[in-house]
C-alpha cells in the first residue's frame, strides 16, 4: 500500500489528467485574457486574478494538441510550482480523487515524443479509467521553451 495522493482530475478532449492537489491554488472559470506579444503560441497571455496579473497557457497547445473553442466548461487551473504561478487552460475540471501511488505505472514509451516528458505516469482507476499524472515542473519548464524557440528558428532558417 503506497501513499494516497489527492489528485485534481481535468480533461483535455477525451483524455483525463491528474495534478496533485497541493500544487493547485485555485480553479477559475474562463477570464478575459490579455495577449503578451512574442511569446510561444501556447502562452495565451495574462489574466487579472483578483488584482494579481497571472500568466496562462493553453495545455492543449503545450502538448501539441489542436486547440479548440472555449466553452462553459473550460476552466483555468492555477498551479504554483517553484514560486511561479501559472494558469493552465483545460477543457473541464471535474473531480478530486484519491489515487494510490502504487497504482501509478510508468508512461508508455511511444506516445509522440514531446508529450511523454510531461507525464509522470499513468494511474489506473477502477473500471478502465486511465488517469495521466502530470509532471508539472516539466510542463512549466522554461529551459525547454527556449530550446523550442531556438529549434523553431533553426527550422525556419533551413526551410
Amino acid at each position: 500500500m503506497g501513499e494516497e495522493l489527492k489528485v485534481i482530475v481535468f480533461a483535455l478532449g477525451s483524455e483525463e489528467y491528474g495534478v496533485e492537489v497541493d500544487k493547485v491554488k485555485t480553479i477559475e472559470r474562463m477570464l478575459p485574457i490579455t495577449r503578451v506579444p512574442k511569446t510561444p503560441p501556447f502562452i495565451k497571455g495574462v489574466v487579472n486574478l483578483r488584482g494579481v496579473v497571472t500568466p496562462v497557457m493553453d495545455l492543449r497547445g503545450r502538448f501539441g494538441l489542436p486547440e479548440t473553442e472555449y466553452t462553459d466548461q473550460t476552466r483555468i487551473i492555477i498551479v504554483s510550482v517553484k514560486d511561479m504561478e501559472v494558469g493552465m487552460i483545460v477543457d473541464a475540471a471535474n473531480d478530486v480523487l484519491d489515487v494510490d501511488s502504487d497504482h501509478i505505472e510508468d508512461p508508455p514509451e511511444v506516445v509522440g515524443g514531446i508529450k511523454a516528458k510531461y507525464l509522470r505516469g499513468v494511474a489506473k482507476l477502477g473500471g478502465d479509467r486511465l488517469l495521466v499524472m502530470l509532471n508539472l515542473e516539466e510542463v512549466l519548464n522554461k529551459q525547454e521553451i527556449i530550446q523550442l524557440e531556438e529549434f523553431e528558428e533553426a527550422q525556419s532558417g533551413n526551410a
Binding site: 478575459p32 490579455t34 495577449r35 503578451v36 506579444p37 512574442k38 511569446t39 502562452i43 497571455g45 495574462v46 489574466v47 487579472n48 483578483r50 488584482g51 494579481v52 496579473v53 497571472t54 500568466p55 514560486d83 511561479m84 504561478e85 501559472v86 512549466l140 522554461k142
Partner: protein, 679 residues
C-alpha cells in the same frame, strides 16, 4: 522547545535592541558620565542576552553577558568610561549584528569572538588596552590581576583580623565533572570566608571553560593550613596551593594594577567634578526626550499587498455598481452606493498610507556610519538629522538606502574639510552634515547638506573634458548646475587618490540611476568654501506612474509618460523610406519609425474594426538617452495614472514589455518598455 516560530520575532526584536544600543552608545560617547544611558544599554543587552539564550544562540548570549559585566561595572561606579572601552563596545555591537545577520541567513549565529571577549574581560578586570590578538583571557594560575576595589578589600580584611590568600587548585586529570568539583571547592570556601576574585571567572568555571586548574583570591579567618586541608578533603583534587598574602605581596599586586588603574582614577576624578553638572543637565534633557513607545503592530508585508489587491477589486465593483445604480434609478440604491463610494474613498486613502514607512528606518544606521567614517578619516563631524518621521512608500524606502549612503559618504569624504583646513578657513573645527527629509507638493525631498569645501567648478570641468564627457567649448556655456550634474556621469571622479571610501568613480552615476528608476531626481547646489547640498526628490508613491494609454488593433497598451517626448500625428507624405527603413522628419531631427502593430504582431481585430488607418498615423515620440523613435499606434486613448503590477516569475525576458497594469474595467494592459524599441 520549537523555537522556529519565534525566530522572526527574535530577529526583529534583536535588531531593535541592537539599534537602540547603537544609538545610546553614540549618545554615551558625547556624555560618558550619564549613568542613565548606561542603564538603558544594560537593559537592552540584558534582554538580548535572555532572548538569545532562550533561542539557543550561545555565542550571542555569551558576548552580551560579557558586555553586561563591563556595563555593570561602569554603572555602579567601579569603572569609568573611556574611548577604548567605547570602541570595544562598538566592536561588540558589530559582532552581535553580524551574528544576527548570520541567523537571518539561516546560519547558527556562531562567531569566533574570542578577541573581543578577551578585551572585555581585560577591561572588566581593570587592565587597559590589551596587547595584540591572541591574548585570550588566560585562565592560568595567578594571571588575573586585581583592580583597586578588590585590592582595597584584601587590604581591609587583613587589617581586621582576616587573612588573605591566593589559592591555586588543580583537579585530577581523570576528573569527570570538573564544574561540579569546582563548585564544591567554592562552596567550601564560601562557608568559611569570602571569595574576592576567581580566575577564570565563576561563570566560566560553571561552564567548565577551564583546563584543570583555577585560582582564587580569598579572605578568611581560617589559617593557611586549615584552608588547604578543607579543600584537600574534597575528592578528585590533585593539588592545592595556598599562598598567604602579606603586605608586600599586596603591594606588588598593587603596583602591577596601579599603572593601569592610575589613568582610570585620574580620569575618573577629573570627570567626577565635571560629571554632576553635565549629568544633571543631560538627565533633564533626556527625560523630556524619552522615546514615546509607539503603539504599533508588526504586519507582514505580504498581507498588506493582499489587502491592497483585494481593495482594488472592490474599487472596480464599486464603479460597476455606480453605473448600474444610475441605470436603475432607485433612490435608495443610489444613496447606498454613494455612501459606499465615500467610505471606499476613505478606505483607499488609508490603504495607500499603510504602505508608507517613516524614513527613520533608513536614517537610523547613519549616525553610526558617519561616526566611524569620520574617525577613520580623522575628521570631526556632527550629523544632524531632521524630519526622520517623514514617510515614504515602502518600495522606495528599500531602494533609497544605498544611494543615500553613498551621498553621505561623499559628504564626509570629499565635502567636509579636515579640522586644520577648517580652522584656517575660519570655520568651526567640527564640520556639520545635515540630513533633512520633508514633504513638498507631491514629492518627498531628502537633502544632504555639508558645510565643507564646496564643489570646484574648474576641477569638475577639467576632469569631464579629460574623460571626454564634454568638449571644451561646451564647458564655457554650462551653468553651475549643469557642471555639478556632470559629477553623475559614469566613470567620473575628482578624487586624487582612490580611498577605500570613495574615488572609484562608480558611485554617483549608480546613485542617479537608482533615483531616476524610483521616479525621482537629484540636484546639486554648491558654494565654494561654504558647502554643498545634494537634493533628492522622490514621488510620494512609486508604484503609480503616469502613462499614455494607446490602442493597437483592439489591444490596449500603456507607455510611461517619462519615456515620452511628445505625441503627434504624422501624414503619409512625411514618411521617408531609406534602405528599407522608414523615417520621419520631426522637429529638425530624422527619427526612425516603429510600427508597433508589426513589432507586437497584433492580430486583426475580430469585429472588423478600423484596421488600416487613413493616411494619418498617431505617433508617440519616445527617447532613450539621446536617441529617439516615433512609435506608430492606432489610437491615442489618453493619459492616465496607472498602478504598476508585476508579471510574475514565469514570464521573463519579454521583448519590450516591462510590466502590466489593471485598467478600470478590470482588463490587463501591458506596459511598453520603449527602450527596447529605440536602436
Amino acid at each position: 522547545m520549537d523555537t522556529n516560530q519565534y525566530l522572526s520575532m527574535f530577529i526583529e526584536e534583536s535588531r531593535e535592541h541592537l539599534q537602540a544600543m547603537n544609538d545610546h552608545l553614540l549618545q554615551l560617547e558625547n556624555e560618558p558620565d550619564d549613568i542613565d544611558i548606561v542603564n538603558r544599554i544594560f537593559r537592552s543587552a540584558h534582554t538580548l542576552k535572555g532572548m538569545s539564550a532562550t533561542m539557543g544562540f550561545e555565542d550571542l548570549a555569551a558576548l552580551t553577558h560579557q558586555m553586561e559585566n563591563v556595563l555593570d561595572l561602569n554603572r555602579s561606579g567601579k569603572l569609568a568610561m573611556n574611548e577604548d572601552i567605547l570602541d570595544t563596545l562598538f566592536l561588540c555591537l558589530d559582532a552581535l549584528e553580524s551574528m544576527v545577520n548570520d541567523i537571518v541567513n539561516g546560519g547558527t549565529g556562531q562567531l569566533d569572538v574570542s578577541g573581543i571577549v578577551a578585551k572585555l574581560k581585560a577591561i572588566e578586570s581593570g587592565e587597559q588596552a590589551p596587547a595584540a590578538a591572541g591574548t585570550s583571557a588566560a585562565p592560568q594560575a595567578g594571571a588575573g590581576s586585581l583592580d583597586q576595589y578588590q585590592l582595597s578589600i584584601l587590604k581591609q580584611s587583613m587589617q581586621s583580623d582576616h587573612q588573605a590568600f591566593h589559592i591555586h587548585v588543580a583537579l585530577r586529570e581523570d576528573c569527570m565533572l570538573k564544574a561540579a568539583r569546582a563548585y564544591m571547592v567554592f562552596g567550601a570556601l564560601e562557608q568559611n570566608g569570602e571569595i574576592i576574585k576567581s580566575t577564570p571567572s565563576v561563570e566560566d568555571i560553571e561552564q567548565e571553560k577551564f583546563e584543570r586548574s583555577f585560582s582564587v583570591y580569598y579572605v578568611s579567618r581560617l589559617s593557611k593550613d586549615d584552608v588547604a586541608a578543607m579543600i584537600g578533603d574534597i575528592s578528585e583534587i590533585e593539588k592545592v596551593d595556598v599562598k598567604q598574602l602579606d603586605e608586600a605581596a599586596l603591594q606588588e599586586l598593587e603596583r602591577g594594577a596601579s599603572q593601569a588603574a592610575r589613568k582610570e582614577t585620574a580620569a575618573a576624578s577629573a570627570a567626577v567634578k565635571a560629571a554632576p553638572g553635565a549629568a544633571e543637565a543631560g538627565q533633564a534633557a533626556r527625560k523630556t526626550a524619552a522615546p514615546v513607545a509607539g503603539r504599533t503592530i508588526r504586519v507582514d508585508i505580504e498581507r498588506l499587498d493582499v489587502l491592497m489587491n483585494l481593495f482594488s477589486e472592490l474599487l472596480i465593483d464599486r464603479v460597476r455598481l455606480e453605473s448600474i445604480a444610475a441605470e436603475i434609478r432607485r433612490a435608495d440604491l443610489t444613496e447606498t452606493v454613494e455612501h459606499m463610494a465615500r467610505v471606499s474613498s476613505d478606505l483607499q486613502n488609508i490603504v495607500m498610507k499603510l504602505r508608507m514607512v517613516p524614513v527613520e528606518t533608513v536614517f537610523n544606521r547613519f549616525p553610526r556610519m558617519v561616526r566611524d567614517l569620520a574617525k577613520s578619516l580623522d575628521k570631526k563631524i556632527d550629523l544632524i538629522i531632521t524630519g526622520a518621521d517623514t514617510e515614504l512608500d515602502r518600495t522606495v524606502i528599500d531602494e533609497i538606502g544605498d544611494p543615500l549612503v553613498h551621498l553621505l559618504r561623499n559628504a564626509v569624504d570629499h565635502g567636509i574639510d579636515s579640522p586644520e583646513e577648517r580652522i584656517k578657513a575660519g570655520k568651526p573645527e567640527t564640520g556639520t552634515v545635515h540630513l533633512r527629509a520633508f514633504h513638498s507638493g507631491n514629492s518627498v525631498f531628502i537633502e544632504i547638506e555639508d558645510d565643507g569645501r564646496g564643489i570646484r567648478r574648474d576641477k569638475v570641468l577639467d576632469k569631464a573634458i579629460k574623460n571626454g564627457i564634454i568638449s571644451a567649448e561646451q564647458a564655457d556655456t554650462m551653468s553651475d548646475e549643469d557642471v555639478y550634474q556632470l559629477l553623475f556621469a559614469s566613470g567620473f571622479s575628482t578624487a586624487e587618490k582612490i580611498s577605500d571610501v570613495s574615488g572609484r568613480g562608480v558611485g554617483l552615476d549608480v546613485v542617479r540611476a537608482k533615483i531616476t528608476a524610483l521616479g525621482g531626481a537629484v540636484t546639486v547646489r554648491s558654494e565654494l568654501g561654504k558647502g554643498t547640498v545634494f537634493s533628492v526628490q522622490l514621488p510620494l508613491t512609486v508604484s503609480i506612474i503616469n502613462a499614455m494609454l494607446i490602442r493597437i488593433a483592439g489591444e490596449k497598451y500603456a507607455i510611461p509618460l517619462s519615456s515620452i517626448l511628445e505625441t503627434a500625428v504624422i501624414r503619409d507624405e512625411d514618411i521617408r523610406r531609406v534602405h528599407g527603413n522608414t523615417f520621419v522628419s520631426f522637429r529638425e531631427h530624422v527619427v526612425p519609425l516603429v510600427f508597433l502593430r508589426e513589432v507586437f504582431e497584433c492580430p486583426e481585430p475580430k469585429d472588423g474594426g478600423k484596421s488600416e488607418p487613413d493616411d494619418e498615423y498617431p505617433v508617440v515620440v519616445v527617447r532613450k538617452g539621446d536617441k529617439m523613435a516615433a512609435v506608430v499606434v492606432d489610437e491615442l486613448i489618453g493619459q492616465q495614472e496607472i498602478v504598476l503590477k508585476s508579471l510574475g516569475k514565469y514570464l521573463t525576458n519579454l521583448f519590450a514589455i516591462s510590466g502590466a497594469t489593471i485598467l478600470g474595467d478590470g482588463q490587463v494592459a501591458l506596459i511598453v518598455d520603449t527602450n527596447a524599441l529605440v536602436k
